[in-house]
Amino acid sequence: MPRQRKKKSKSKSEERSWRTVLQTQSRKVVTPAAKKRRLKRFTKAVASIFCSALALGIVAVVMYCLSVKPQIGWRPPSNLIRQILFQTDGTLKRHWLREVVDIPKNRRILDVDIQQIKQRLEQEGQVRSATVERLFPNILKVSVQENVPILKVVVLDENKRRRQLLVAKDGTVYAGQGYSQATLKQLPYLHGVRLKRAAAENSKAFAPVAGMEVVAELLEKARARLPEFYTTWRLVSCKDFDGRREFPGAVIEIHSLIAGKVLFFPSDFDEQLNRLQYVLEYTEQNRMQNIEYVDLSLNGQAALKYAKTAAVEHSR
């Protein structure tokens, strides 16, 4: 059986041992030798603490440098913008650019968000597309391609006042700036279309009008083929045309000063314009009455109505 030593309680002899003498290292040094030793120990302690702190500091700095991933940052020299070049293929002026986009003069060229400027410009209805470029070291170039109006339309604004807007080839409805009165006077009115507000929240703009590409094609061909007759066109009605060419009964109605109403089928404009040209030439040659109504949408035929006389069917 292994020996088990019991824990001994303190005997009277242990209570009266020399070990009970309280050993204190007095603050007050007794001798110069003790003072010198204390100073030496203090100096060593301070030095060791300093060295430890220094070593820890070095380790911390090294670890920090290792943890920070080096980034190769390259920036070309960035100067203040000296000039903003504005180019457009339309009628917009420089002051329009300043109103739409505010670029402070004392900005550095690299600090300008060109993508943001482009997006802001393209929000304007008159702008079809925009390009913003940095020409280093200090020139910002803004190039704009504008929409070309084909029609004009009158709307009532929120104060119930009439307001004239323009319609572009892609159906964009916009206010229009910089156009001359002569240009605006030449544009036919758009009729028969109910304008809708754009889908974006709180947008005051109108949604694009459907079918304007087709109307633009007609207007373009008419201007080219019958330029004098085109100048008498005053109104384009799309009440029977929703943009779908092949829809049964779809017609584009033109109101002109000399031919009354002219109805076009939304395709094959060349053939229809040929027939119209023939009708107009025939009428002029034979000094007939003014045309009140021409329907070119009939297949291969044209229905004609003169003023004060019955419609005469004419077959080619």
Binding site: Q4, S17, W18, V21, A33, A34
Partner: protein, 402 residues
Amino acid sequence: MDQSQIVGAIEMGTSKVVVLVGEMIKGQNLNIIGIGQSSSKGIKKGEIVDFKSASACTHAAIMAAEKNAGTQIEIVSLAQTGRHLKGFLNMGSVRVTDSENLVSQADIDRSISEAKSKQLPGNRLYIHHIQNSFFLDGHPVSDPFKMRGERLEVGYWHVHGEERNISDAIHVVNGFGLNVQDMILSSIASGCIVASETEKENGAIVIDIGSGVTDYVVYRGGYIVRTGVIPVGGDHLTNDLSLGLRIDCKHAEKLKHKFGKALLDHGEKSDKIWLIGDLTIGDRMIKRRALHQIINARVEELFSMIRQQVGELLNPKDLAGGAILTGGTSRLPEIDALAANVLGLETRLVENPSWVREDLRGPEYSTALGLLYYALTNPEKNKVSRKQRGIFKRVLSALRFR
């Protein structure tokens, strides 16, 4: 992990303070790496009479030792001596409780507790409790555990001293910023280094004759059975010479060292010696025999006092190892012969072990060496001190700032 400790052994004597610095490696090897000494002031017969002076000389010695060692002392072993030290034997006796009379650990513990239970007067403190042999039914045994017997006895030799003297010595060390890890009797420290295990087993008396006091320790059967302090030392011889020859102490000391001898030589009745010996005006001649007579009387008295104190223990049968003389005063020629005559024992002069460096082999360093040796061979105390070393000290040690 640091496995070496720097141990300082401090002996505050009447003539000098000796500090030895040792490096204890893994508790198995000891290298003496430094020594410091200073002339003692404020210490008389091993007792501090002037605290400030004693502190100054002790601190100077410690500082010199640390500088010599190139490191700072971590733990201190302090030698204690002086007239105030007394010893007594106390026996603890218990009946074996086991029904089959087999001695249990509890019986041993009870007997030890009984032996240590003696109370001391209010102004005295225990320094040592030295276990002697166990006796089982009157027969000496080294380890009575599981032995059969009815009565178990153990003897303890207790050494105690005055609280004031002990605390003064401790506070001198504290004043330097060190704590005393262990306190050992000067005689025991000397005995553990100068007496071999065989001599201790056979029985021997080690007598350390210092400048102010003479310490002795008696071994029997490998145990320490008696210690004592006699307040007579080399200074008394000098004093006697000074008074007897009517010369100053400085010249008396010089004569003692140069011409002193313990035994009387019948052929030297008319021999004379010069007091100073360098043709100084005022120099005179002194009879050599007078010198020897004074010395012989005092030394004989010293050994007689030892014989009286040790008493019946001092017999050649029990102390076959004889008497071993050490201490600075043991350099006195023929002192061993005189001791043999007075004590009736084979006497030899000691030289410290050969593994000690040459400058420390003199008998005056026995106590300091013994302190270091004691610290090495008492591993329990060293383990405690190791645990107390904090992380900061270990770091400093690793950084070699300490």
